[in-house]
């Protein structure tokens, strides 16, 4: 595992209400690596992903993408390189799944694959393609959101609890999608509470007291 570092966080700190939630946090994400992060509620996992994706500015430290700090990059450059799956699907609820992906494709200048192909890839049945996302179940929304990530041209994926609401085939599909991505050299970071998903990852970290620690394997 000596592939290039894609995203690097150095001495990251983030404070809220006069208290540090993240402090002295270092992280290296290498190409083709699948990292899973767990941690107690309120440990700052979501905030960490938001900082890594450039949606939030850190209080201390900085994040570099291919050697350039995020704050020096234009937002659309970051958007093109880093794909993020948040709690909210990142889809317009009153547009259909297909329309959402088509819109996104048009917005970023046709860089992503055809909408139908992506929706089929995440296992959404064709009958749901023309349905409004508002009518989707939790799991279906998660799949549609995943289609957005899969279709992006990004080489970093940040996934915030991607397995939420997914059924067993859905989880297996998610694993396959991530494996396919890492095979292409994409670096994947996932936040999850799911032990099964944790164990599939290449690297397991735990966010504790504001820092990432390797998870102690209990046999």
């Amino acid at each position: 595992m000596t592939s290039a570092v894609v995203l690097r966080a150095s001495a990251l700190g983030w404070a809220a209400q006069g208290r540090f939630i993240l402090l002295d946090l270092d992280l290296e994400m290498r190409a083709g690596q699948w990292t899973a992060i767990s941690g107690a509620n309120g440990a700052g996992k979501t905030t960490l992903l938001q900082i890594l994706s450039g949606r939030r500015a850190p209080t201390r430290g900085h994040v570099t993408l291919h050697g350039a700090t995020l704050s020096s990059l234009a937002v659309h450059e970051i958007g093109g390189r880093i794909a993020m799956l948040e709690h909210q699907p990142g889809l317009y609820l009153d547009l259909s799944g297909r329309e959402n992906l088509t819109l996104l494709n048009a917005l970023c200048g046709g860089q992503i694959d055809a909408a139908e192909e992506l929706l089929a890839q995440v296992g959404l049945p064709p009958t749901s393609w023309e349905q409004r996302v508002r009518l989707y179940s939790r799991g279906m929304r998660q799949r549609a959101a995943m289609a957005r990530v899969v279709g992006s041209s990004a080489d970093v994926w940040l996934l915030d609890e991607p397995a939420t609401g997914l059924d067993q085939p859905g989880r297996e599909l998610l694993t396959t999608l991530i494996r396919q991505a890492t095979a292409k050299g994409i670096s994947v970071l996932m936040v999850t509470h799911d032990i099964e998903m944790m164990h599939k990852a290449d690297r397991r970290l735990c966010l504790e007291q504001g820092q990432l620690q390797p998870v102690q394997e209990r046999v």
Partner: protein, 249 residues
């Protein structure tokens, strides 16, 4: 726009001597102008003793105008080059501006009652002051209601910047709307030399007091920022110490 978290040691904890001297001078100026207005100026021929409100009314209006303008300018600077001191200045100017706006809005109607026979009239300058005051108070509330202080700071600053051209246009709109405000200064209305001295003494006293208020408030906000930065530093130290046994085990 990240918060500057280095504790700024340039903020002295002791009250600087110059500030104390300045406070004393302002207090003396206010006393002097009060005495002068009470003892030396004659009562107005038409308005009687009520006319004497005028001296403080105009001074407060100056202070309000300068304060709110400076608040907009500092907010603009804070948006372009964020710094804790620009933010603190913007807030101090805004707050002091609002205080004097209320002074204007209380002394104005008292004067108007005697002069025009009613407390309120939809006269351009009154309307302008009322609208600008409402806007400034709204910006002040906005800063408090934001879900986090960085957002409040940005939104408050943006709105303060918007307020400047808006006030300028409100000024024209209400002017053409029609009205009659005493044109005391432009018309060379003050003939009496005692009155002229009283007028300028009051203006200087109020502007000096306003500046003292801004300086004091600025100092308070800066000290608060310093305390917050120090508390944050302490929280970092506590967190690191909590970790220490974990790392050695």
């Amino acid at each position: 726009m990240t918060q500057t978290l280095s504790a700024d040691t340039r903020v002295p904890i002791r009250v600087p001597k110059t500030l104390i001297i300045w406070i004393i001078i302002s207090a003396l100026l206010v006393q002097a102008s009060l005495l002068w207005i009470a003892l030396k100026t004659p009562a107005d021929v038409n308005l009687g003793i009520v006319q004497k409100i005028f001296y403080f009314h105009v001074g407060s209006a100056f202070a309000m105008m300068l304060g709110l303008t400076a608040a907009s300018v500092m907010s603009l600077i804070d948006l372009i080059r964020p710094s804790d001191s620009a933010d603190a200045l913007a807030r101090s100017f805004l707050e002091v501006g609002v205080v004097f706006a209320f002074c204007v809005l209380t002394s104005g109607p008292l004067w108007a009652r005697k002069s025009w026979g009613m407390y309120w009239t939809w006269e351009p300058r009154l309307t302008l002051v009322l609208l600008v005051t409402l806007l400034a108070v709204a910006v002040l509330i906005l800063r408090m209601l934001a879900k986090d202080s960085t957002i409040g700071r940005r939104v408050g600053a943006a709105m303060a910047v918007m307020g400047a051209p808006a006030s300028y246009l409100i000024h024209f709109a209400v002017k053409w709307w029609g009205g009659n405000h005493p044109q005391v200064i432009q018309g060379g209305g003050i003939q009496n030399s005692e009155m002229r001295v009283a007028f300028w003494l009051a203006v200087v006293a109020i502007l000096s007091s306003a500046a003292v208020l801004v300086a004091t408030r600025y100092r308070a906000i800066r000290l608060q920022q310093r305390t917050q930065a120090l508390a944050l530093r302490l929280s970092a130290r506590v967190l690191r110490r909590q970790r220490a046994p974990m790392e050695t085990s």
